[in-house]
Amino acid sequence: MNLSAIPGFHGIRAGRAFALLAACFVLTFGAMVTLLVLDQQRVLEATGHLQEQTVPEIIRYQRLARNLEQLRQEGERVFSAHTPQSRQQAMFVVMLVASHPSVLEHPESAALARETERFLNDVMYRSATDSKAFVTYHEEWQRLAARLSVQVDDVSIQGINLANGDLNEVAATMGLARYKVAAALGLVGLFLLLFLVLLRKHLIEPLQRIDRALSTLSVEQPSPTFQPSAMREIHAVEEAIGELHASLVQNEKARVALEELANNDGLTRLTNRRHFMLLADAELLRAQRYERPVTVGMADLDHFKNLNDGYGHAAGDIVLCALAQLMRDTFRQSDMIGRYGGEEFAFLFPETSLVEAHVLAERLRVRAAGYNIELPDGRTVRVSMSIGLADASTGSLEMALNRADDALYEAKRQGRNRVVQAPVGEQRLLADDL
């Protein structure tokens, strides 16, 4: 179910959406419960009516039936009595029962009782003059007695039928209530299903997408994209993730810039002394661990003070930049170049013996010596450099650089513009001293 497709639902707050759903559920379920309560009320009223009115009425009918049956029995006694006293006694009871309010209140029974009383009274009168009166009229009495018996049955059934109305109403109400309970349970199930579907579609799945996006969020990856969410809260989180990615990219750029400033020389863009020492030390340790050849070098521009004095410091800076670029162009990608200070440069040549490094350094020296550096005012200058090399396959970086510096001094002493190797024996001697 896509809530976004529902007009007016897009962008609704998740809390409000679920509150709306809960309100709908409460209202609908409340209505069902109210209907059930009304049914229960009807059942209570029907049972109350049954208990307070119908049952007493049934009892009244049963009493009437019993009195009618007694009327018939006393009539039989009138016919079967052996003495006038017992016959008269039975006749009095007949009159009493026929006069009883319970009989008189039921018109059919009252009429039949009155007819019975008159018949028996008449037979009693006739028996005063006719000794066979009871025999003569016995057949007629039997017909009357049969009518009384039928009336007894009718009254009993009428009484019992009184309960049928109330019981049918109770049964109908309970039957209806059963359907309502089933409907209410179905409604609860439907709402729960709808709730779970909406929960999964609009909360769980977006949260899972957000979790995946956050776990892979990095400056190397493009900013994650999401389908528009129907819930404002989810949409806000998705937008926040995009903003977070942009912030990460910005921070990475700043970090790179800061690293550039911290590690490189601002003028020549070569590695500064501190960073060169870190990188060179790590490479030296690696080479010594695997017993690979490695060579360090120190270079110094010849007569650079005179250049500064003659052409100015700006020209000196241009020369430094030009020679730094020349070094980058001359040396290999794997070789390390650092501005060691002023017009001094340091090198480290991995996987390179002293002889091989000498070839590289000599190439640089030759190219530098023949490199015409143009100044802004159109003049051209050439600067030579002296280079000292030292094998660094044993000993520390500082020691190797010191020996390279000694070799550089030796190159200066020999007349500048040359490459001098530090003697290997001196290196071993120094290493043995350590």
Partner: protein
């Protein structure tokens, strides 16, 4: 010694707690000679009177009350209850608006109707004037009797002037029968059950009922026990006892002990 005193104290407290409420109960007797305190009206009358006495005792037992029974004439019961001389009046009272102004009534204890009672010889004589079935509605210029203070007598008094009826009042049922036997009245208008109570001892063929049984004008309906107007708690207790007796079958056992038919 302390233990003995404690036992005596507890026994005394129990006696005080167990002392039931005392109720004065008026029972209607059929004959004036039995209408005195302590007389054995129940034994002498039997039937309806024995039923009333047994009913009164059972109600008292269920209310946990100590009842003092007193046999009195019908006409003395209602004024006695009204004057609070009696707490309960077993006079088999039909419930009428006039009586309800004077006393309160319990639940119904049975149902009754009224009917004319007369001598067989009188009926033959009057049948020539009023037809074969002599009925109260058709009677004119005859002598009628009834029990003083009864609903039947009250009704007769209300119609006597218009119909030229001559009325005689009896204090008891026995006196009413005597009025009929002596020929001082042609008919008595009596409650059926009460009439039966006396007629069952009479020689058959002398008396007989006449006309239809009567329910209207307060002459028939439910019969109640009379109580003082403001004794609501007592009335509720009596009603509760009657309902309980009906529910557990005690009421019907009393009926069958005393009557060969149902009063309800």
């Amino acid at each position: 010694m302390r233990f003995l005193l404690l036992v005596l104290l507890l026994c005394g407290a129990r006696w005080v707690v167990a002392q039931p409420n005392e109720l004065h109960v008026a029972l209607w007797v059929a004959e004036a000679k039995t209408a005195r305190p302590g007389s054995d009206g129940e034994r002498q009358n039997g039937g309806l009177y024995q039923f009333n006495a047994q009913l009164a005792r059972e109600i008292c037992r269920r209310m946990k009350a100590r009842c003092v029974m007193e046999n009195v004439l019908f006409g003395e019961i209602l004024p006695g209850v009204e004057a609070r001389l009696f707490d309960l009046g077993f006079g088999n009272y039909l419930r009428t608006p006039e009586r309800e102004k004077r006393v309160a009534f319990s639940e119904s204890i049975w149902n009754s109707s009224s009917r004319l009672l007369g001598r067989v010889a009188n009926k033959r004589r009057l049948s020539a004037r009023f037809g074969p079935d002599v009925a109260l509605d058709g009677l004119r210029d005859v002598r009628l009797g009834g029990i003083a203070e009864s609903r039947q007598m009250a009704y007769l008094e209300s119609i006597a002037g218009a119909r030229g009826l001559t009325l005689s009042k009896a204090r008891t049922m026995a006196e009413a029968i005597a009025l009929l036997r002596d020929g001082e009245v042609d008919y008595c208008l009596l409650p059926m059950l009460t009439a039966y109570e006396l007629l069952r001892h009479e020689t058959p063929g002398i008396f007989e009922f006449s006309g239809p049984p009567l329910l209207d004008h307060g002459l028939g309906g439910s019969v109640h026990i009379a109580l003082a107007k403001d004794s609501e708690a007592l009335r509720l207790a009596v009603n509760q006892a009657i309902l309980a007796m009906r529910a557990d079958g005690t009421y019907h056992r009393l009926l069958h002990q005393n009557f060969p038919f149902s009063l309800e």
